[in-house]
């Protein structure tokens, strides 16, 4: 892991196993696609944070507000100084999403357990069904950080300036052949395709079979050499609803050290339905070297 631009944000399953009891300074947070997975057994002393029922406002189409976020942290015994280690199912897909939301509200010490739930289980490590409880804290969040979140008007301007855009969905979604992810028929949009000029780099290309991130060299080959992204220039990543792109956001920013990376969480469900928004269909256009 040491070759990454910011190796300090990744920890191994070994590291987590040896820090399970350090609950005074550290909180392990499980964030899964499946709502019930945590209940079937989790890393001992891990708390649950659900990407929909906890992190998303159920009325307004947005994340929870600052006050609700503060409450979520306080209830889980997370203080402003607590080191939070995220892990989850599906190659840490939702773990990086939770990580991104914590960064959005200004939490400083965030880590990701490389390999996620899959690796922990594959290694036959201890799981617990006990729901731990920790002393309540008084958490103070900052206002959402606009440096890591892009809204549609900004994306439009960025596109017009021919800024770097990464579409992390599958090729079939990118070309417009499929209007939604094969498994998610209701998260469709009125139009299929991608934001003009976006490069297609499916998010899962960044992970190995065992759920860990690919090493630095392989990631450089993919994002920089092959797809020609420049680390000094701004990048906006998007997908369908902004969760797969938070995974790519994590890879670009922390593993490859890109300076300015934003997640457009409105993503295709917003753009593909937006009146007048320009779209492009078909195969990726070769980028000039």
């Amino acid at each position: 892991m040491t070759d990454y631009a910011h190796p300090e944000v990744l920890v191994s399953t070994d590291w987590v196993a040896s820090h399970l009891e350090d609950t005074e300074h550290l909180r392990i947070v499980e964030s899964d696609e499946d709502l019930l997975l945590y209940e079937t057994g989790h890393i001992p002393n891990a708390v649950k944070l659900d990407w929909i029922t906890d992190l998303q406002d159920q009325v307004v189409r947005d994340y929870v507000g600052k006050e609700r976020f503060e409450q979520l942290c306080s209830e889980r015994g997370i203080g402003n100084d607590t080191t939070v280690v995220f892990y989850g199912d599906k190659n840490n897909w939702w773990a990086t999403y939770a990580f991104w939301v914590f960064k959005l509200f200004g939490h400083e010490k965030c880590l990701v357990m490389n390999g996620g739930r899959k690796k922990w289980e594959a290694e036959g490590r201890k799981m617990s069904k006990e729901r731990p409880s920790f002393p309540r804290t008084t958490y103070r969040a900052t206002e959402p950080d606009p440096a890591i979140r892009a809204f549609r008007d900004e994306v439009l301007q960025h596109m017009r300036r021919r800024g770097q855009l990464v579409d992390v969905r599958s090729l079939a979604e990118y070309t417009g052949e499929k209007m939604h992810m094969p498994e998610y028929p209701q998260e469709g949009a009125m139009r299929g395709g991608h934001i003009p000029g976006a490069r297609n780099i499916p998010w899962s290309m960044a992970v190995n079979e065992d759920g860990t991130f690919k090493d630095r060299e392989e990631l450089e080959d993919l994002y920089v050499t092959d797809k020609r992204l420049h680390s000094e220039e701004p990048v906006i990543a998007y997908c369908r609803i902004g969760e797969r792109s938070s995974h790519t956001w994590f890879v670009l920013k922390y593993l490859l050290g890109f300076g300015d990376v934003k997640n457009y969480d409105g993503s295709w469900t917003e753009w593909g339905n937006l009146v007048g928004a320009p779209i492009e269909k078909g195969n990726p256009v070769e980028q000039a070297p």
Partner: protein
């Protein structure tokens, strides 16, 4: 009252944490898949494609009665629990009752608000498949 209605009543009468527990309980109680369907399942056939997890489903209709079989890995407890509810509700039911069961089972069970909108589509597809096949196999 049909079996489905009584399950729905139980779910809707429960508060959110209890409803989650009921669902986990159902996930643990999913009957084992009969031998005759295991080869199909292992070959990846009869899956509900809208689900992210591999949800295996088989619907039979015999003398107007529905037989329902399913299997879902333990790593996907939500889909597993829902499939288990479906079997409890509809295995052995009159095909006509399955066809006429409410269109929005997830709402009836109070699961839509519990799971969040983004999670219900795969489950709706399981339900649709059961109703469709029960109707189709009765017609034949």
């Amino acid at each position: 009252m049909t079996k489905f209605e009584s399950i729905a009543q139980e779910f809707r009468g429960a508060d959110a944490p209890l409803r989650l527990e009921l669902l986990i309980d159902y996930a643990q109680r999913l009957p084992e898949l009969p031998e005759k369907y295991r080869a199909l399942r292992d070959a990846g056939l009869n899956l509900v494609h809208e689900c992210q997890a591999p949800v295996f489903l088989a619907v039979e209709v015999e003398d107007g009665k529905v037989r329902l079989f399913g299997d879902v890995p333990r790593e996907a407890p939500t889909a597993r629990g829902f499939t288990s509810i479906m079997i409890d509700a509809f295995d052995g039911a009159d095909a006509a009752d399955v066809e006429e069961a409410p269109l929005d089972a997830l709402h009836e069970l109070g699961l839509d608000s519990l799971l969040g909108m983004q999670r219900t589509r795969g489950l709706s597809a399981i339900y649709r498949r059961i109703k469709d096949e029960a109707g189709r196999k009765t017609a034949v």
